[in-house]
């Protein structure tokens, strides 16, 4: 590897008035690297990236590209040098074709009219060069999530990119989709591209980066290291400054079944039968489309149940709508926290009570005192960090939003919780909080069905896993029967040795 760094920032600081966002950070990126920038929300990641991209100027310090000082250059000038910042939310027009997305808005023209064959040619050329095998005419909105990210990255880099800054590119992606994107990123580095990868996920750093810098409170928390030397826990500790104690649940003793599904059928999934004991945590695992999520959502009343029966205790319940599921005692935490969980216009307290208002009424009128008390109680119990009940929900961090939603679920007085990736996109500390909360709830007799894509997380939290593959329930095993993450990973993915099993 080249001994000269591609990019170097020396002692950069950034003050906004009296606020110090960055304080004397040194930062070095080797050519051809995927350089992880790790940190919690507010650690200074975005500020550092804005300084590198040229969106803002540093108060102190200098930035070098290939040894030459670029501190004084503007954002467009740095773009010309090949530094590109990719926003978290990518600029793809879903209703336009792939090729058009790539050249938009600089349409090639012939005689004043758009030259569509040139558009196609240019699109095909770019797709081939960057190794994305999709059709030029396909609508961008129909692409898979990783392909959409790839498309917008190709559009950003076009011909002249050398250093791309990616901001949390795997948000909302499943493990499979992440791996697909990571492989592609690695291929691009072999072609000479360098990446800076901003994230708060230690897992992403472990999986895609070959070097990293950890930021904490605007300072470098551990000089750039090579990923092979850093453990997950070590990275998490560097980020938070405290030892994050990974929570490991004590397996619950088998109890009488609380929830029983018999020949339960949803579209695209073969009938499944299983039961969940009182106080048990059962993991539903499988790739997207394997049936795990479909079963969970149907149980929550968000997808049609085509046949079969659901029993809670001794009573059969009929679920046609989420309201039926909630009435029966089955509460669902959506995977899409922003899109399906929160009402962004409303306050933290209102979001906590959304759907549960009837429980807060006296003579048909909402009892504000009771709602406030209930909120205060949830805030304490779930350790929700907020400036107060009247704060807008979209101002909270992801972890705190998730705790509000968990509070909402518990407010329905459920007997079964169906949690769809409860720790997706939240930071390491909040993640452990959520794990502990889930465990504490089972101590109160609640049963939990949980979807998660991280085998390590599942193994720490569940008592039993149900493995779905290609629309069928293929394995059911106690967590003790799992030899490790790899075994679970293999079970989730089609594994030829297992094809005759069960």
């Amino acid at each position: 590897m080249n001994s000269h760094p591609l990019l170097e920032a020396r002692g950069v600081s950034k003050h906004f008035g009296a606020v110090t966002a960055l304080d004397g950070v040194d930062f070095t990126v080797s050519p051809g690297a995927v350089h992880g920038v790790l940190g919690k929300n507010g650690a200074g990641k975005s500020t550092l990236m804005a300084l590198i991209a040229g969106a803002i100027a540093p108060t102190e310090g200098r930035i070098f590209l290939n040894g030459s000082d670029i501190t004084h250059l503007s954002l467009p000038e740095r773009k010309d040098l090949g530094i590109h910042l990719m926003e978290q939310h990518t600029e793809i027009v879903p209703s336009l074709g792939v090729a058009e997305n790539l050249i938009f808005p600089d349409y090639p023209t012939k005689n004043g009219l758009v030259d569509w064959s040139a558009v196609r040619a240019r699109g095909e050329d770019l797709l081939r060069r960057y190794g994305l095998s999709v059709s030029c005419d396909q609508l961008a909105g129909t692409l898979s999530l990783p392909d959409q990210r790839k498309l917008s990255l190709i559009k950003t880099l076009a011909d002249k990119g050398t250093l791309a800054i990616l901001d949390e590119p795997t948000t909302a992606m499943s493990r499979e989709e992440r791996i697909e994107l990571f492989e592609w990123i690695r291929e691009l580095t072999e072609g000479g591209l360098t990446f800076i990868y901003i994230t708060h996920s230690t897992r992403d750093v472990r999986e895609v980066c070959n070097e990293y810098t950890v930021l904490r409170d605007g300072r470098g928390a551990g000089a750039a290291g090579s990923v092979t030397t850093g453990s997950d826990e070590g990275l998490a500790k560097l980020m938070t400054g405290v030892d994050v104690v990974e929570f490991k649940r004590e397996q619950a003793a088998a109890d009488e079944p609380l929830l029983r599904l018999e020949q339960f059928q949803v579209a695209g999934v073969r009938p499944v039968s299983f039961s969940v004991g009182r106080g048990e945590v059962v993991g539903l695992v499988g790739l997207p489309g394997s049936g795990a999520r479909e079963v969970a959502r149907a149980l929550a009343g968000l997808q049609e149940i085509e046949a079969g029966s659901v029993c809670l205790g001794d009573t059969e319940v009929y679920i046609r709508h989420t309201a039926d599921a909630i009435d029966a005692g089955i509460a669902y935490l959506p995977n899409d926290r922003i899109g399906e969980g929160l009402v962004p216009q409303l306050t933290v307290q209102e979001n906590l009570w959304t759907g549960n208002w009837p429980t807060q009424q006296v003579l048909g009128f909402l009892d504000f005192n009771r709602m406030r008390e209930g909120f205060a109680k949830s805030r304490e119990e779930f350790e929700i960090q907020t400036s107060g009940s009247e704060q807008l929900i979209n101002q909270l961090s992801g972890g705190n939003q998730q705790k509000v939603l968990l509070g909402r679920l518990v407010g329905t007085a459920p007997r079964v919780l169906v949690l769809d990736e409860p720790t997706a996109g939240i930071d390491v500390e909040a993640k452990e909080d959520v794990h502990r909360l889930i465990d504490a709830l089972t101590m109160q007799g609640l049963s939990v069905l949980m979807l998660a894509y991280d085998p390590a997380e599942l193994i720490r939290l569940v008592d039993r896993v149900l493995v779905f593959r290609d629309g069928a329930l293929v394995h059911e095993l106690l967590v003790d029967e799992l030899t490790g993450e790899d075994m679970l990973f293999d079970l989730i993915h089609a594994h030829t040795a297992e094809s005759g099993g069960d």
């Binding site: 975005s46 216009q345 504000f368 907020t386 979209n394 101002q395």
Partner: protein
């Protein structure tokens, strides 16, 4: 202990130290002012009008304004209810005229006044139910569906009356629109009572809060166990019922019906909620703001007449006011990051 700010902000404004606390307080004040812009404008406008014409700040004119505001504020409330669930009911004017016509026809046919009044409201409610089913169950676009429904109803009135004005003799049907008690007109009492009820329902009942959740994020509302289709149908029914009441009030006040009376009302009925801070995208708005919007529009129009501004300018000022309201709405949405 995490003493870190609990608010998720961009990296740059991370530390809420003394400077930022002041900044935040300034923001709060600005937010409150934006939320109450309608009342600030109302006061400002009244002062200017009062300085220009001594008659403006008299009891007689206050009574006049309240009477003038009655039908508009009812209709604005009907539109507001549907805006809250991220839909819109543009059929309210057609509904108002049509319901009023039914009432007038029944009175003219000799039906007891009470029955005629109930039939007027029932007609409006039924139209609301039809709108609700079309929009919520059959998934028609509410903008187009209610626009068409409004045209159908207005057209029906035109067809039935053949453009003529149908009058009713003074009776208990016309009592509410014209009676005075202790020198004060009775009609404004209807909208005042309705607004008090609406204020309570919107903030203090589960049903009211459901409107906000369904408008704010329908998917989240579904996942939280709210039957969003039912809530939508109910919202349109309520909007229709209010339009029916407004239809009765209008015909009672005018002692008759014709198609031209409400022709310029629709735009103001949509503008009033927006001026009053009801979001066009659903999930945000307060009843008190609606009231402010309706009053501001009425006061503006009355004031322009009183201070002898040519009638030719009234429409332009009304349009300007709507522009201002949408402008403020856009700023508000940006500040909230919605």
């Amino acid at each position: 202990m995490p003493t870190e700010p609990t608010v998720k902000t961009s990296d740059s404004t991370r530390r809420t130290t003394g400077v930022n606390a002041t900044k935040w307080a300034t923001r709060r004040v600005a937010d409150v002012m934006l939320d109450n812009i309608v009342w600030l404008l109302l006061v400002g406008f009244s002062v200017v009008a009062g300085l220009s014409s001594p008659f403006f700040l008299t009891t007689a004119n206050l009574q006049n304004i309240l009477v003038q505001a009655t039908v508009l504020s009812m209709i604005a409330l009907a539109v507001g209810v549907t805006l809250l669930i991220a839909q819109i009911d543009l059929s309210v004017i057609g509904n108002l005229v049509f319901s009023g016509l039914i009432g007038v026809l029944l009175v003219r046919a000799g039906v007891p006044d009470v029955i005629a009044i109930l039939a007027t409201v029932a007609t409006g409610t039924t139209v609301g139910l039809v709108n609700g089913v079309f929009v919520a169950k059959l998934k028609m676009n509410s903008l187009i569906e209610t626009l068409a429904m409004g045209l159908v109803l207005t057209g029906a009135v035109l067809a039935i009356t053949e453009g003529k004005t149908l009058t009713v003799a003074a009776s208990s049907y016309t009592y509410l629109g014209n009676a005075r008690v202790g020198g004060w007109p009775l009609m404004p009492l209807v909208f005042i009572v309705t607004y008090v009820i609406a204020g309570i329902v919107s903030t203090r009942t589960a049903w009211g809060r459901r409107l906000y959740a369904v408008g704010g994020n329908p998917r989240a509302a579904t996942a939280a166990g709210i039957r969003i289709d039912a809530v939508r149908v109910q919202a349109f029914i309520v909007a229709g019922a209010i339009a029916g009441v407004a239809g009765f009030l209008q015909t009672s006040y005018l002692s008759g019906v014709n198609t031209t009376v409400a022709s310029d009302l629709l735009l103001y009925a949509v503008a009033a909620p927006v001026i009053g801070g009801v979001s066009l995208f659903g999930g945000y708005g307060r009843v008190i703001g609606l009231l402010g919007g309706a009053l501001l529009i009425t006061v503006t129009q009355v004031a322009l007449q009183i201070v002898n501004v040519s009638a030719y300018y009234v429409q332009m000022v009304g349009g300007g006011m709507i522009l201002l309201a949408v402008f403020v709405d856009a700023i508000r949405i940006r500040r909230r990051g919605l």
